[in-house]
Symmetry: C3
Subunit: 634 residues, 3 copies
């Protein structure tokens, strides 16, 4: 499959006289795709029911005639003021009970049925107009679900929807009371109409209550998205896409992805580094102008799974952004590196955000490929360089990685709801495991929790999985590689309760977690041989062999040759040792990489990316800062 570049463009922000010039320059830069339309509802439908397609027709035609392909976005992330005036209760409500007002974007409640009807209507109208337009080659539905914490709403609409959802799920209040354990504090309900959304309770609500609300809220994102899928499917053959965000866990992306053709995400490596990625102060300074060396790779691998193999980067940071606590400029070369890294991880297209920096409104300090005065910004030349390099590249055929990581959204909600330790976060644990795999030079596949076939992989990690699915448990029962389960895996049932017998329930492996400790930053559990657990430590019992022990003589890893349980959260050095040992046992070759260098293998090509601020030499090859190197695999 060929790799392509693109850009996000807002014709409505610029005089029509400029469109053809812009289109020609995009084409000359080597771009293929132009995403448009996703915030333009007020121009498509300036007053209720009256559409104005003229300007959009001309924009599509201008871009198409220049040889570009259009990604058409539905504008449902920015309902116009008149629509909010017509249904003021379409606004979401925050956890403090305050409506989230008009005046920016994403001012809608996923639970609001009236707004869904409006979204279906505008999507259908767009599909009727552009579904068969030869220049419109893909569709984006809405924009960045959950951005600005918009998945969870505590509105009347959410309350009503939640009650219905619970009634469907449990059929009777008695069944719900039993499942949630409402006997605990006299919390029984006699009717579903007595159940509230779980905010503003005196102390923490029942975690089972919260978990069902998290599931309900995720389901509303799925349903909201499906409304537009259903409207567009009959009207177009172009692929349907949503642009997800980094480190967003409030809805089950796999489920949204089932209804779509491609998963795309919006990659802002530097914006994320300062406060959305773990790291020491030294790492944050080292990678200040590059982004964390594993953050982009993780999301590429995750969204490749969400997209069932099909991945795009819909928005790629080209320069300083406007929304992080601090916004430095990328190191020269990074706009190229990020694109190649995406391709190496399977992306079919990488679109820079945005073509020209807007001189007005909220994002006026967000760089583009052009400056506000239309002169080239630094990333333009890097985009052109990538476009030129694409032609000379060998095929980047997808391949199966040697190792896999199970990643589950529901588990993220579970440990949000009941962290037990103040710094326990599911993403952080999963990312710690992923980073260890990457430091060992391994390419990684991320798998959903209902995976039923692990046979392609020599090593599988499953950290922090709330509950092993039946299919995964079955796969583990016959697995011939090494699976490392835990910590905090399979210790709850689906009702967010401790199962009896207590977990984990690993096939043919007698291990039980009998006591759990969360550890403050000052504390650690020392292991035999020099490692240590931080944050989390589980006391294990059972007859399974002990592979690793604490200095105090407690089991740290227990299990058989294939299925093992990890009793704590290893720090980075310790994780490196554990991964190294498992790879040796599984005959998976690992690499010794200098700091900042990362490797990704496709079927036939090995890519090296230098995320560091200085050149590195490895295996005889010197790669400059922000440099990319590729070579054929033997």
């Amino acid at each position: 499959m060929p790799r392509t570049l693109g850009v996000c463009y807002y014709p409505e922000h610029w005089p029509q006289s400029q469109w053809a010039t812009d289109a020609a320059q995009m084409k000359a830069t080597g771009l293929t795709w132009v995403r448009i339309g996703e915030f333009a509802w007020s121009l498509m439908e300036p007053t209720p029911g009256t559409y104005d397609w003229d300007w959009l027709d001309r924009a599509v035609q201008t871009l198409g005639e220049a040889g570009l392909k259009v990604v058409m976005g539905t504008p449902t992330a920015t309902p116009p003021r008149w629509l909010v005036d017509r249904m003021p209760d379409m606004l979401a409500v925050d956890a403090s009970g305050r409506p989230r007002a008009f005046g920016s974007r994403r001012h809608y409640d996923f639970s609001h049925m009236g707004y869904r009807v409006e979204c279906s209507r505008i999507a259908r109208a767009m599909g009727e107009r552009y579904g068969r337009n030869p220049h419109v080659a893909a569709w984006q539905i809405d924009n960045e679900y959950d951005c600005h914490d918009t998945t969870l709403s505590y509105s009347d609409a959410a309350r009503t929807g939640f009650r219905n959802w619970l009634a469907q799920k449990y059929q009777s209040p008695e069944a719900l009371n039993l499942a949630w354990g409402n006997v605990f504090w006299s919390m029984q309900y006699e009717s579903f109409d007595q159940i509230d959304v779980p905010n503003l309770t005196v102390t923490e609500p029942n975690p089972a209550h919260v978990m069902d609300f998290r599931r309900y809220s995720s389901d509303q994102v799925v349903a909201f998205n499906r409304v537009q899928v259903d409207a567009l499917r009959p009207l177009t053959d172009a692929p349907l896409i949503h642009n997800y965000m980094g480190r967003t866990l409030t809805f089950d992306h796999y489920k949204v992805g089932e209804d779509l053709d491609i998963a795309s995400w919006d990659s802002y490596p530097i914006g994320f580094l300062s406060d959305r990625v773990e790291g020491t102060a030294k790492e944050k300074q080292t990678y200040l102008r590059q982004g964390h060396p594993d953050n982009q790779a993780f999301h590429h691998d995750l969204y490749r799974a969400v997209g069932k193999g099909r991945l795009w980067v819909m928005e790629q940071q080209p320069g300083p952004v406007n929304w992080a606590p601090y916004n430095p400029a990328p190191l020269p070369g990074m706009a190229r590196l990020w694109a190649w890294e995406a391709f190496a991880h399977g992306a079919e297209a990488v679109c820079y955000f945005r073509w020209r920096q807007a001189p007005f409104a909220q994002e006026q300090m967000h760089a583009g490929l052009l400056r506000p005065d239309s002169t080239p910004a630094p990333a333009l030349a890097e985009a052109a360089q990538v476009a030129g390099e694409i032609d000379d590249m060998p095929a980047l055929d997808a391949t199966t990685a040697p190792v896999a990581l199970i990643f589950d959204y529901e588990s993220a909600w579970a440990w949000d709801t009941q962290p037990q330790g103040a710094d326990f976060e599911m993403f952080r644990l999963a990312f710690a495991a992923y980073r260890a795999l990457r430091r060992a030079g391994l390419s990684v596949d991320i798998l959903p929790p209902d995976t039923s076939d692990l046979s392609p992989y020599g090593l599988v990690l499953a950290p922090g999985l709330m509950t092993l699915s039946d299919s995964l448990r079955a796969a583990l029962a016959t697995y011939e590689g090494i699976a490392l389960i835990g910590p905090r895996s399979d210790l709850k049932n689906r009702d967010m309760a401790i199962p009896l017998p207590m977990g984990p329930s690993l096939p043919d492996t007698d291990v039980t977690v009998v006591l759990t400790e969360s550890l403050p930053p000052s504390d650690k559990i020392k292991l035999q041989g020099g490692g240590r657990f931080r944050h989390w430590f589980e006391h294990l019992e059972g007859t399974a062999p002990v592979h690793l022990s604490t200095k105090g003589g407690q089991p740290a890893i227990m299990g058989g040759d294939n299925l093992r349980y990890l009793a704590g959260w290893p720090d980075d050095d310790t994780f490196d040792g554990i991964i190294g040992g498992l790879c040796d046992a599984a005959s998976i070759p690992t690499l010794q990489l200098p700091e900042g260098l990362r490797v990704r293998d496709t079927a036939t090509t090995r890519f090296l990316f230098n995320y560091g601020p200085k050149p590195v030499t490895w295996n005889g090859t010197t790669i400059p800062a922000a440099g990319v190197h590729w070579e054929a695999l033997p």
Copy 2:
């Protein structure tokens, strides 16, 4: 009086078939008491007015027949959903004006008269059913007043009640205006109906306004408790108890205690260590799995005073809890140490919380004596060990300690209201004094602020007392030991104003605080001889002798042989020196103790508790980590 053990049990959480087995195992462990019932309103009264006592009858009978004594809890901390539906305004309102919703516990407003009627009704119904039951040997009223910050409410009910309370107190708005100094910012009221609860003001409300609201709110807890006392007293001869919490200062426990027979408290040493007890990072790590070595002792001594000599621990941590920022497991032996420490401080009973870890709802990560799967958790064996040791113990007769500390709830409200320094907290100051006494090996009695007889004590400390009571002032006038008053003592009158003449007003002792400085953490006031004040320093004037001076020549301690005023907040080393000097002067012997070792003397027995993580040797005796040693006093 014999010492006994017990446990908290929730028969409603388990199948009835398990009850007899549980009861037999409790008995076999050596337990005497079982507390039940305190969250089970929805089972006692599933629908309004229809009681279901059958299950509770059976539970009491099963436990009683096994030889256990029941502590019966009234369930008023968890009103059922149907009750909230009937009187939605029974919910408290937080300082931001938001109702505190159903869905956890303690969802009621102490000021709500309708809810008080309901509480009286359920208490009376329980009393009628179980007041003369031979197995019910004690009662607990409600559960953990103020838990989850529930004393203060800014509801309509609170506003109405507060206005009436003010009208009763002041009789006329003019009197209130004068007492509060409302002339200050044109804040005069013409009618009590103009007075609001003191939240959401533009800047700080009048501290006199806040103080009266704090007094009013405390009085509502007293009144709320008394409603149930009044309902139960005619129906039972068993003692009435409430289970207070650690470091809870929002209501006057002495006043609640006046209506009850025994004061009990819920002791969670490790849960408190991480964020509810002062300490350096090093101390927090040293005592991570033991709890702060003075925190339990302080509360035992405090609640012994609240209980007018009768003390229980109603809930004793047995393993990791679920609610602290970090939740490690206790060091082996601590579940035994904590119980013996409670007995040494006068506790008649220590009940572990809880029998079996619940697999569902909010506290499913809270350890019990049994694991969720009914196998023994580590604390069970320790409880059994204590039970076995009790029989062999000499009598633990109460005695009067050589030193006393005055502790006053109203002062805590005063300095909350007007801290003057960001880190000034009354408890912290009192606890600093207490810790210094304990480091000197002293047993301590805590006394209420209206104490009228100090003669049993050789040394009395009164730090941070807003106003000396008339009785205390009279006691000081004839006191022949040494009393160290201050800092920040007797500097306000009961109207929260500076008295004229300015304080303190110590009998026959000419000392006046003429200027007050609060100090940032970077600053200190150096004393002659090497000590220093932190946080707080008062400039003293007067003709009384100066016992200690600052390096700058200002008085640090002034007064006569018996009555002295301390002008600042000594750091720990300095406090040790001051206490040492005073004890020498008062001929009170002190001890040199290794770090982590604590001493408590009863009438005839000296107890040593090693809170440290390593063995210590003292006076020829080696005590292991978490170890307890006792010996007859000469």
Copy 3:
């Protein structure tokens, strides 16, 4: 003009029998002025429409007969309870949507038209009573606008007023949509009645929306003040004054100042040090009892500009205050130093706050010249010393400083609205520039942004100016000194958009900021010759000469001999070097001063102030800690 001292006094707080004694003691201390009345509405008008002037008549007469001059304050910062009961919607509303309740002060909304009518009425009534009273020699209107963050309100009154203000400004929704760039996220309005105050939006509102709301809110302060000016002007010839606060930026003080005769401010050097002034931990400890050595000077210079040359200090800290996080006592001598520093910067009068410490209500821990028991507090003797010294002083004629700093309130709002870096604050940047000038021994004039004549100054700094005004741009075009513009100057137009062509637009100077980086604390941009930029760095292009470069070869200062642009935020050392170089080039002599020593030159006298905690020797003169020295300029 003679320099005078005064004091703030509240006769309504004390028995009338004490007034004459107080007045005599004030006079004996050497005081000239007594400010009264500003919180006494409830006494002036105890019930609606019924005035009680008797007490105030007597107070004025008593003070006047003692030889004192009265500053009469209008009491509109403390509307009585009965007034709030009559118009409950006069309360402001906070950003969370909660009314800001009665119970302290400043409980009014600047937008509320009904309250303006009431303020006009009480001001007129006071003017009629005291406008020609021979003892009333000045007026203060209201008290500390914006104190407790009261400029911005999100009330219904503000919403209505804002809509009208926008309608006046833009005339049509289309014009507003265009100016704000509302096309960006479909934010267009069809009617002004659709526009809300910009709080509680899902993510950040349009910065142009926020900026207009900030302008609107500032205009309401101006209008509110003008209502009282209009009421008083016909009734008195005494000067009208408002007492501004330190570091208050929410309204345009220059505009308020246009309607008044004198600018005064309330100077609390130690209260501000702990959390309202930048500084390292070491500096904060060094100046703990003196205040930051440049903070008072900055505000004197700023408010001298706001007062069009006429400056007072209406409230001068005399001892510990009650409202800072920590409240230590001033170093002996500071109450004298602060007064002389104010005089040296042009103050006509310095009034200490307050005469006697109040024993009741919110400020009872705030020191006065007297203690609550009427004995002298430490500052009384220092005030008397200043009063004695005034007579012997040479004339302190105003003069023009050699250097000027442009300071603009609108720019503060702009960078609040769009900081781009988490630690970017306009005041901080301007104060960094000012401090560098002071460390070089320079006296400074602060100028408003519409300054049209720079010719008196050899050096002008304009850091952080959102937009250069036409008049300033014209002045720069012919300026013969050196003007250093930037960083972040002239990069926005008045619509809060990036101008095209991009800025800055400096006359005859080809420099453009093409890319902006905000830097986290860990990062710095090294400069040739050893300096560095922190926080902020702009990439410059253009043909103007480069005066200074980064180590990476990018321009750091560009421009011609007269007009230069500074591309980043220099740290203190670097700023010292830049200022030194510019002064050399402009032939402005600078001084080498020891740490903590500051200099201020009047026309004929040089003042030295030692803010340090130890004596310093400079040019052969030794000045004690907290010492003041003056000498004739050659």
